[in-house]
């Protein structure tokens, strides 16, 4: 399944399928991006980050892709598991690089 971020806040996928969560960012000068996972009742948990000198970065079952041309970020989760059910946020620095801006997130539901 694929999400377009703020325009489709909920993504439902079957267990075992791959998930793609998208995020559009606004500041072309942003040079660092972070993906967070937030489970119900918990604080956001760091998943993976990427700097603007990279197009792709892989972690354990997760891959982040960065397309600076269209200012787009995506998080790919391989073989989605029930434990992946959460809200996912991308974060980008504000123009003064003093703080991060978080979108409203995408909720991922994994169906068994």
């Amino acid at each position: 399944g694929e999400s377009v971020g703020l325009h489709l806040p909920t993504l439902s996928v079957q267990e075992g399928d791959n998930s793609i969560i998208n995020c559009a960012y606004s500041n072309s000068a942003s040079d660092y991006f972070i993906w967070y996972k937030q489970e119900s009742g918990k604080g956001p948990q760091f998943i993976i980050d990427i700097r603007s000198n990279m197009d792709k970065r892989q972690g354990q079952r997760v891959t982040v892709l960065l397309n600076k041309t269209v200012k787009h970020l995506s998080l790919q989760i391989a073989a989605t598991q029930p434990g992946d059910s959460a809200v996912y946020f991308c974060a980008e620095p504000t123009p003064n690089f003093n703080k991060f801006y978080f979108g409203s997130g995408t909720k991922l539901n994994v169906k068994p």
């Binding site: 660092y32 972070i34 918990k42 409203s104």
Partner: protein, 115 residues
Amino acid sequence: GAGVSQSPRYKVAKRGQDVALRCDPISGHVSLFWYQQALGQGPEFLTYFQNEAQLDKSGLPSDRFFAERPEGSVSTLKIQRTQQEDSAVYLCASSRGQGATDTQYFGPGTRLTVL
């Protein structure tokens, strides 16, 4: 420490009461941030400390909100004369680097309910 800790985890206050929320960042982290998170929304920035200096408080919604980090470690967010609209989860995060140049690690949050 192993991670960012916050206390209390839950706080119920009557409208008009003052509350104090505590954050213990990861040891050695220079930067500390407070965020407010409403139900179904992403974290909204409140304020940022670099060591003991409060460099950005542009997100504090009113002068009823006050934050401090006197020794550059533990921080306290104080809300005076609480209102119902202050009900939210208050998140604290810390990072090794300055500002938005490094990964922020979050605590579990304090859920504030104002009756």
